[in-house]
Amino acid sequence: EPEVTQTPSHQVTQMGQEVILRCVPISNHLYFYWYRQILGQKVEFLVSFYNNEISEKSEIFDDQFSVERPDGSNFTLKIRSTKLEDSAMYFCASSEHRDSYRNEQFFGPGTRLTVL
């Protein structure tokens, strides 16, 4: 069964450093998403991406964040200058459709980001 993959599984970085989290969505999916989950808390939407541009973004997704689809398979989330409060699990998700009736999202296993 096709699945979303994410690398690395765990990333440790120093405050102020840039990190890039990588995701490979399911191959025939057209819509891509990033979420974060601070330990023990709810899943928070960051951004959605379609047709090589951002569709929606939340208040969390400020100028420190950017997303890119550098090639036909990868979808990346970059945090330019990490802060301690960026420590969280980051989930990538993809969906085949986006309209109200068919937007089941498939989540990857996540990347745990630890900012020291």
Partner: protein
Amino acid sequence: GQQVMQIPQYQHVQEGEDFTTYCNSSTTLSNIQWYKQRPGGHPVFLIQLVKSGEVKKQKRLTFQFGEAKKNSSLHITATQTTDVGTYFCAGTDYGQNFVFGPGTRLSVLP
């Protein structure tokens, strides 16, 4: 902005007991989804409800969407230890905003 609330936050049940989690949105939803997240795992899609008053069943799980499309519930009959995890609802409003609820963490004691 849109807010999605869930109650209870935690629920501990004996194996075999029933369990219900309730989800309420501050705005009318075009659809609602339910996800399950096992401890240490990632959210896994369970179901999507679209129609007002819709009821769907998956084995021991029953999902309902309220008539006003602002609330939903998930009911598990005769819980098993495999049901352990956090159950999240996630609502899409007509502005296409997609928000997860805070989740209900279910513990099942054998």
